[in-house]
Symmetry: C2
Subunit: 410 residues, 2 copies
């Protein structure tokens, strides 16, 4: 992408009401735009990051046998009444059609939709297990939205639902999903900072599990057991004050943000929607469900909270919008020509390049490159002659290479 | 995909309140599920079709220089007040946050968002032209939703917006976009049935243009000039009763569905949002806009309205969820083994295969294959021995080939 063609520019200032680091940097660097509190537009660079995160998640979900669908955001009141959540779900946006007087909810989650959907197709033990997921925008009427992409009123989630004949089968899948989640966090670069965290299981299960990423921007407090490399959340610490795995009481308190959660729903939603199957003996039983959520905006926000410095964002390579930022710095026509040639050759080799071909000062280009935070910076200038200066965003040291060496490195 | 793993099954009946052919077939064949009037879930096969249509559109938009973003569905009242549409847009879903008392609209279109967004980045003639698009779910409070995927309360649109320094530049781009639209309709298979249709341009332009696809399920009436291969809509025929191109009065009346529309917005939205630029002389001018919409659900519905017979859907190859339906028909274990082997080899060769490995009757499998409507049907049975019976969905004739020949054909 030639940077002068991008309709977005970097900005000196983020909106004054934007307190969070993730949104400040993402706005200044031109990845997102704030439409209003808790509601953001993904701009071209941000949309590329989003799609990379999305593809990493999708690949893992397919690896878990998940079949992708897309459910609506508009949801009928009746379904929410069946589960008793129409009046008890705190952050449900509700409204009424002017013409038909139909009452709708804007989906904050999809148990009320997926359960009756499966009930249309599942009748026998032969129809189980099944795994279904979607990646979709969700809506929540949050009382406060102050943490940028970490807590939005509109945001994207991946939600996977699993359907089983018994708890043993669900437990097995639940463990597989846990591992898949940890792989996702590793792949997007925050694995080292992310802990499987024991949370309350509600009335149906002793524990559910959250995935919490340590960052000072986090809204939750977690308690890490360094022996087991797991954590427990505040609710659990109030109950037991020790690691549920090893009993260790020497726990480290840390602020964290919940980037995923998984629940053993069991029959909580299959019961109200009559989601049943007949076993080998013809006896009707309720389907056992699990659900597995992950917030994509939140993941992007958490990545920025962790990977930034005073100059800007420092994207992990797996989710960077482009791998390389090529800067052509002033000078005569032959510098531009040389930079153009390198741009084309990198593109030919399949490298994702953002090419800063703008008429701008050297300082502005360097500052913008640091702010945008692509993993590799290449500079062509009068000083570099027929060589290219290569620098990693995470390192200070630069080196001069010729074009052949460049294509090998990148 | 092994069909026995799909969580969706074909159904004998569509919901009784479903009048439209497109939704009846898509529901019976397991492509979509009806959540309520005008609101559908895309099931795995339907989601694959959707993504193929989406990718065809995206490729064309990128070809037009479009930069992809994603704007929110939640939109602030203020923006809609600025254009006077808060009270005058017929099908706007509106609601109020319980906590903050903020009033929102659910986006049915995005002029109110994209115009102030561009105003943040455009200041000089050097910043123009720019082209920005998204593919996104939209919401409309329709008084009646009776045509299946042709008119929904929630649906996907691609919307492209272009920004120019003057009308001449906009006109040039508008003509390019027209051609791109016709290419899209050709690629998804409905080109022959789709007419560039002159419509009223509102107060700003003599004409706008719709793309109308002829089908008895259409809600609009168009008037085709067979000389120019264009059409005019009802509004225009009431004004002038002749082809705006050649004056021909011998027009054919046909029912049609609007699958796309393009407008010269000019300054209609740049004015209220102060979207201006400075020209070479430093004189401030309003940006000239164009917009280019296309409904994805509607496209899918229109394709089914056109390509079906009494047995089911007949997908064009470019948007079929899989290219090949492989049926293994009863018999002994070695038939299953042979079918398994063909399935694996087709997959290896990169062919998209739906493999009907279910325990089901021969009649059921044939009926389902016709209903689902993949372009090529392959049958392995005792009768075919070590050969494979090949049949196109659009033809009656079958032929027997060996595996080598098969891989060549497919």
């Amino acid at each position: 992408m030639r940077q002068n063609e991008l309709f977005v520019k970097t900005r000196r200032e983020a909106p004054k009401d934007e307190e969070s680091i993730n949104a400040q940097l993402l706005i200044r660097a031109g990845f997102v735009d704030k439409l209003m509190a808790g509601v953001y537009t993904f701009l071209p660079l941000g949309w590329r990051v989003f799609q990379k995160i999305e593809n990493i998640i999708r690949e893992e979900m397919e690896g878990l046998g998940g079949q992708e669908i897309l459910m609506p955001s508009l949801q009928p009141k009746l379904n929410w009444e069946k589960t008793g959540r129409w009046d008890n779900y705190d952050s449900l946006f509700k409204f009424t059609s002017f013409y038909t007087k139909t009452e709708y909810a804007m989906g904050p989650t999809h148990e009320e939709i997926i359960s009756p959907l499966l009930a249309k197709f599942v009748s026998s033990y032969k129809d189980l297990p099944k795994y279904v997921f979607q990646i979709q925008n969700k809506f929540r009427d949050e009382a406060r939205a102050k943490s940028g992409l970490l807590r939005g009123r509109e945001f994207f989630m991946k939600d996977l639902y699993s359907f089983h004949r018994d708890e043993a089968d669900m437990e097995k899948y639940y463990e597989k999903a846990k591992k898949s989640y940890l792989r996702i966090f590793n792949k997007v670069g925050i694995g080292k900072f992310t802990y499987l965290t024991y949370a309350s299981g509600g009335t149906f299960s002793k524990y559910s599990h959250e995935f919490q990423t340590i960052t000072p921007a986090g809204e939750d407090m977690i308690y890490i057991c360094d022996k087991c490399k797991i954590a427990i959340n505040k609710e659990i610490i109030n109950e037991q004050n020790s690691c549920p795995n090893c009993g260790n009481k020497n726990l480290r308190e840390k602020k964290a943000i919940e980037v995923g959660n998984i629940f053993k729903l069991k029959t909580k939603y299959s019961a109200p929607f009559d989601l049943k199957y007949k076993d080998e003996a013809g006896i009707e039983k309720e389907v056992i469900m699990g659900c597995y959520g992950m917030g994509l905006n939140r993941l992007m926000g958490a990545i920025v909270e962790i990977f930034h410095d005073e100059k800007g964002i420092v994207w992990p390579e797996s989710v960077a919008p482009y791998k390389v930022h090529l800067l052509s710095l002033g000078g005569k026509g032959n510098i531009k020509k040389f930079a153009d040639k390198i741009y084309k050759n990198l593109q030919k080799s399949g490298t994702e390049v953002l090419y800063d071909n703008r008429e701008a000062s050297i300082g502005e280009k360097f500052n913008d490159a640091d702010l945008i935070g692509l993993p590799h910076r290449l500079v062509v200038s009068e000083k570099t002659g027929n060589k290219i200066e290569v620098k990693k965003r995470v390192e200070e040291k630069t080196r001069l290479v010729n074009e052949k060496e460049l294509l090998k490195i990148i």
